[in-house]
Structures are given as structure tokens and as C-alpha cells.
């Protein structure tokens, strides 16, 4: 029950006018960003991050996380009304959401999406609430070898579980790790890969890279694909909302299953994208009439939305507790934490209780307020898409530039952003995944430092990664995941031969 006391304390931190206003502002900005083509959760958060630099960390994280919730809600609006997934994890929502809109049931689909997002997040927040206190006691066990093992696990799971061609993941990740190493090396205090340039001295900031890779390149891609939207207008009446809510209990199995999948994939670095597809596919598989999926079934909206939000929310847990982001947006929030002088990691729960519990409390409040806000403002936000793209595109470019510049007050970063924009565009088109690249850029330095500190501590003995149960099991798991495709194949063959011999 320690959790409840801490949570109440968190609410006490939040309930000031200033924070409530920031929360609303964050939600509105977030929905806006989620609806605009060419933006989306991670970019929105990255671009708006500088706004929070002068705030205290608690207000800042509340505002940013509200931008995040808002963007998640906003993504659903475009998926259902316009068949444009604002984020990769909204793709599965379009399968049944858009057909529903075509049948004139747009309001119903939207209500279903918002409600299930809310349920998914709520389950995940409950989970975080009750797991968080345990983390702080677990916290102090983490030294350099443990940290390295966890980073290794993240990297390996990307290579082992990724769906793109293996060599492209390797290219993307090694490039990210290399660029992360530019600048001064903390362990030796030596400069490397700067080629004598004063601009490269400070290294390549990953937020700048993210803004270019996702923001600018998305504009280029949207332009290339020519924006001709056909969508459905919608406004939501109370009657429709209540109608959908009344039917909710009928779908409790779907909702529970998707929440569970979401939480599991959010905490392990599977991510929201995998969660939404898995949620959708399982709902379809267990349905009595799977052929009606894809033709406008409300469960086809419930399942992926619940899973995506459960995973998007629970991804914040490993980010706060271990410093490992479970999603792109979590990675950006992680960068924010460092800017505000908070060291993400187990000790955050010990040293900055106000911050952590304020954030958790804001997840509850933000989701409730967000739900009400989206239900009432759908028509306004949907009409944003009527603004000509020729006006929106340059505004997004300017916002990206402001975001990139403000991080380090460097003109060089605007050029870097432009460069990364081109790289992102080309990489997306030739199928080199950007997620491993971003992840490597965020974690590269920390992983290398952790490894080298472990080596200094152990006198260069690699056995330190198996020196106790905790670090040993994480390292072993990482190695297993790296070779998962091979192991999976082997297991399949064993099962097959057994069956054959039977």
C-alpha cells in the first residue's frame, strides 16, 4: 500500500493551477501534432521539448507526457477518418476503423478508439503504480556490468527480432553507434572522429538527428506521395458514446487480452507497433467469425488501440527505471530527462520521488482529461486537415528548425537536421530501418561507457558479465535473443522431426 500513499502524494504535486494549465496545453498541442500529416508523437515531443527547458522538471515532464497522450489520441482520428495512420502503431486501427467510417459509423469508431486507448493506458498505469515501488529497492544493484548487460539485451533484441533484412538492421545500428561516439570519449578524455572540427566536438545530438530523420524526411515523403486526402467528417454525440460504452462489457476478453499483450511488449522492448498488430491478429484469431474483420468490426478497433496504448504507456517504466526507452517517444523523453538534470535509472525512484510520482499521477489525470477533450473536439481537429498542405509543410519545417536549434543553441545543428532529413528519406525508401539507428544514437555512449567501466573494474576480465545471477541471466538472455532466428529454426526442426518420427 506504499504505492497508494506515494500516488496520492503525486496527485498533491500535480493539483496546482499552473500544472493543470500546462496539462491542457500539452494535450491540445499533442492532439494537434498527432493529427497533422508529417508530424506525430515522437517528432511533436522532440520539437516542443525546448519549450520545457526553462520549466522545473515536474512541470516539464507533465507537459511533455500530455503532448504524448494527445498525439496518441490524435493519431486515431486520422486513421479512422482519413485512413492515414499518424503513427506506425495506428496502422492496425485503420483496418476496421476506416471501413466503419465509410459505413457512416465514424463516431462509433472514434469513441471505440478513444475509450480503448484510455482502458489500455489505465491498465498499464496501474501496473506501473504497483511495480514502481519495487524498482527502487532493486535499484542499487545496478553497477556498470548490469547496465551494459541491459543495453546489450536491447540491442540484441532489435537485431534478433527485427523484421527487416538482417544486414540493414546491422547497418542502421552500427551507423548509430558510430555517430554516438563522435566527440569526446568520457572514459579516456580523448577526442575522436571530430576531424579537428569545433562543431563536432560536442558530438551529434540525438534529438537533432530524430527531428531530421523523422520530421524533415516525413515532409519529403508526404510530398512525394502527393497529398490527396479523402476522409469523413464526424462529430460525436453523447448518445453514440453511451451506446459504445454500454456494449463495452461484451468485449472484456478482447480488452483484457490486448492490455496484457501491450504491457508485456511495452516493458520488454517489443514496442507498440508489434503490440497493436499482435492485439489485432489475436482478436481475429479467437473470433468466431474472423472473416468479418477488416469490414468494419468494432472489435477490430478495440483490440489494436488498447494494445498500442498499453504498450506505449508501459514503455515508460523501463525508461524511468533502467534508462532504456521502450519506444521512440520514450527515447525522446529520456533525452529530456537528461536535459533537466535527472539521471534516468533505478535511483530516480529513490532520489526524485516527486518527479516520478508526479509523472505517474499525470498519466491518470492526463488520460481522463484527454479522453473528455478528444470526445468533444473531434470536428475541430479533423478540420485541420482542410488547411492546405502547402501552408502546413513550411510551418512544420520551421518548427523542426526551432526545435533543432534550441537544443544546443547551434546553427550547425540546423544543417545537421537537414542532412539527417535527407538520410532519413533515402533510408526509409531503401528499407533501412530508422528505429535501431535512433536507439543506438541514444544508448551508444552509455553502453560503451558501461562496458569500459566494467572492464576497468574487473581488470579486463569478460567474466564480469556472468559474475552474479542478475547480470549473468540478462547477458545470457541477450545472447539468446541475438541468435533467436537460428534457435527458432532449430526448435522448429526438432519439433518437426519428432512429429515425423511419430
Amino acid at each position: 500500500m506504499e504505492a497508494l500513499g506515494l500516488l496520492l502524494h503525486g496527485f498533491a504535486v500535480l493539483l496546482t493551477w499552473k500544472i493543470l494549465v500546462l496539462m491542457m496545453a500539452g494535450l491540445v498541442l499533442g492532439i494537434f501534432v498527432g493529427v497533422l500529416p508529417g508530424l506525430g508523437g515522437p517528432n511533436g515531443v522532440a520539437i516542443l521539448l525546448p519549450l520545457t527547458f526553462t520549466m522545473d522538471p515536474t512541470s516539464a515532464i507533465v507537459m511533455l507526457s500530455c503532448i504524448y497522450w494527445g498525439a496518441l489520441f490524435g493519431g486515431a482520428i486520422t486513421s479512422i477518418l482519413f485512413n492515414i495512420p499518424g503513427e506506425a502503431w495506428s496502422v492496425a486501427t485503420t483496418f476496421d476503423g476506416y471501413p466503419m467510417a465509410q459505413q457512416g459509423r465514424a463516431a462509433e469508431a472514434l469513441t471505440a478508439a478513444f475509450t480503448s486507448s484510455f482502458i489500455g493506458s489505465l491498465v498499464a498505469v496501474l501496473l506501473i503504480t504497483f511495480l514502481a515501488p519495487m524498482i527502487s529497492s532493486f535499484a542499487l544493484k545496478f553497477g556498470p556490468p548490469e547496465f551494459f548487460a541491459v543495453y546489450l539485451l536491447t540491442f540484441c533484441s532489435f537485431v534478433g527480432l527485427g523484421r527487416e533484412s538482417r544486414h540493414k538492421i546491422v547497418i542502421s545500428m552500427s551507423l548509430g553507434l558510430l555517430l554516438a561516439g563522435v566527440g569526446m570519449d568520457t572514459v579516456s578524455g580523448q577526442l575522436r572522429m571530430t576531424f579537428g572540427s569545433a562543431e563536432l566536438l560536442r558530438g551529434i545530438n540525438f534529438l537533432v538527428a530524430v527531428i531530421g530523420l523523422f520530421g524533415i524526411s516525413e515532409i519529403l515523403l508526404t510530398m512525394e506521395e502527393r497529398l490527396a486526402l479523402r476522409g469523413h467528417a464526424a462529430s460525436i454525440s453523447l448518445r453514440v458514446v453511451l451506446g459504445v460504452w454500454k456494449d463495452l462489457p461484451k468485449y472484456w476478453v478482447t480488452l483484457l487480452r490486448s492490455s496484457f499483450i501491450g504491457c508485456w511488449l511495452g516493458i520488454t522492448p517489443g514496442g507498440a507497433i508489434a503490440a497493436s498488430f499482435m492485439g489485432y491478429n489475436l482478436a481475429k484469431r479467437f473470433a468466431k467469425d474472423p472473416e468479418t474483420f477488416g469490414k468494419g468490426r468494432i472489435e477490430g478497433v478495440f483490440a489494436p488501440e488498447t494494445a498500442a496504448h498499453a504498450s506505449g504507456t508501459s514503455a515508460l517504466l523501463p525508461m524511468l527505471a533502467l534508462g532504456i526507452p521502450g519506444s521512440g517517444t520514450a527515447a525522446i523523453l529520456l533525452g529530456g530527462l537528461m536535459v533537466w538534470g535527472l539521471n534516468p535509472g533505478p535511483l530516480l525512484f529513490v532520489e526524485h520521488k516527486d518527479f516520478v510520482w508526479g509523472l505517474i499521477a499525470s498519466m491518470y489525470l492526463g488520460n481522463v482529461v484527454g479522453l473528455v477533450l478528444v470526445l468533444t473536439t473531434v470536428p475541430i481537429f479533423a478540420s485541420i486537415l482542410r488547411v492546405p498542405f502547402a501552408a502546413v509543410a513550411p510551418m512544420i519545417v520551421v518548427s523542426c528548425a526551432i526545435g533543432a536549434y534550441a537544443i544546443q543553441n547551434a546553427m550547425f545543428d540546423i544543417w545537421l537536421m537537414l542532412g539527417f532529413g535527407v538520410v532519413g528519406y533515402v533510408f526509409k525508401k531503401v528499407g533501412i530501418p530508422l528505429a535501431p539507428f535512433t536507439l543506438a544514437l541514444v544508448l551508444g555512449n552509455r553502453a560503451e561507457d558501461a562496458f569500459r567501466l566494467s572492464m576497468i573494474g574487473s581488470g579486463g576480465d569478460l567474466k564480469v558479465f556472468w559474475s552474479n545471477g542478475l547480470v549473468g541471466s540478462i547477458t545470457t538472455l541477450a545472447v539468446l535473443l541475438l541468435f533467436w532466428p537460428a534457435i527458432d529454426g532449430l526448435l522448429a526442426r526438432i519439433v518437426w522431426t519428432r512429429r515425423a518420427s511419430r
Binding site: H167, I171, G181, R226, A228, V240, P394, G421
Partner: protein, 180 residues
């Protein structure tokens, strides 16, 4: 609920036809990307070799990881290069059509100019010129609308960042004339 089923259609006024000829194939772009990455890997690899890439008494030297990463990157891109050259399907696939390339350049070139203007005249001037120019030239939107939108947007940005939140943006002679 019939009023909820209005259709919104948003069309690009410059929409061209779809049967535009291919400019370059996916296969050749992939080969070029791999070649560039290979060159980058070689350059970084050399620099790290110079920094020191061995394993001394206290563990790896500063260049150790980056050196082997460049080797991995080099290997990956070499593999990609060979795969791209061998794959028939890829070399037939279109990377961009001429119309697409034209549209991409239509936003890339203004963005590039915007960065240049920002460097010399400051971000707010650049922002005004980019928005007004882009809306007018690419979007074919009425001049007064373009100018007004650009002015309002730039003013909001200025008020938010420079005034309200003390996040200071690059500025040029124009702002200096007003005392900022």
C-alpha cells in the same frame, strides 16, 4: 447521424498524372547508399585506428569500439551492395518517378534556402520568407493569404520562444534594428 457523414476532400492543387517516367531504380540507389556508407566506414575506421584501437591494460582504448563498428558497418554495406547488384527485382523497381522527384525537390530546395537565410538573416526572417514563398509558389495560394499566414505564424513563434520562454533563436540585422 447523416450530418456526420460529410466527406472532406483535400487535394493538392499541383497534383500531376501518375504515369510519370522513373528517374532512378531502387537497386541503383541502394548500391550508391551502400557505397557511401562503405566510404564513411573506411574514413571513420582509419581515424579510429589512428586514435588507438587496441585493448590495453585497463580495457579497450577510445578507438576500439568505433573501429570495430566501422568494420561491421563496412561489412554490412558491402553485403548490401552485393545483394543490391545481384537482385533483379530490385533493379527494376522504381525509386522515384520524375513527378515525385520534382515534388520532393519542391520542398527540399526551399528548406535548403531557408537554412541559408537563417544562417545570415536569422530564423524569423527565414521563417517568414519560407512560409509566404512556399504557400505562394508551390501552393498557389493568394498572395495576401500567404503573407498574412507567414506573418502571424512567425509572430506567434517569436512571442512563444523568444519572449515567453526565453529560448533564444538565431537573429539577424532585422531583429537587431528593433533592439533584440
Amino acid at each position: 447521424m447523416s450530418q456526420t457523414d460529410l466527406e472532406i476532400v483535400v487535394d493538392d492543387p499541383t497534383a500531376p498524372e501518375d504515369d510519370s517516367p522513373s528517374v532512378v531504380s531502387s537497386g541503383s540507389v541502394e548500391s550508391v547508399v551502400c557505397l557511401l556508407l562503405l566510404a564513411l566506414a573506411a574514413m571513420l575506421g582509419y581515424d579510429n585506428w589512428r586514435t588507438g584501437a587496441s585493448w590495453d591494460a585497463t580495457g579497450p582504448e577510445p578507438g576500439y569500439f568505433p573501429f570495430y563498428l566501422s568494420v561491421i558497418l563496412g561489412g554490412g554495406s558491402l553485403y548490401g551492395l552485393i545483394a543490391a547488384l545481384l537482385s533483379r527485382r530490385k533493379s527494376a523497381e522504381t525509386f522515384v518517378t520524375r513527378a515525385q522527384a520534382y515534388r520532393v525537390l519542391a520542398v527540399f530546395v526551399p528548406t535548403l534556402l531557408f537554412c541559408l537565410v537563417t544562417q545570415f538573416l536569422g530564423l524569423y526572417v527565414g521563417s517568414f520568407l519560407l512560409i509566404a514563398g512556399f504557400m505562394r509558389a508551390i501552393g498557389k495560394i493568394a498572395l495576401w493569404k500567404s503573407l498574412l499566414t507567414a506573418l502571424v505564424f512567425t509572430a506567434i513563434m517569436f512571442a512563444t520562444f523568444d519572449v515567453a520562454f526565453d529560448v533564444i533563436m538565431p537573429k539577424g540585422p532585422l531583429e537587431a534594428a528593433f533592439g533584440y
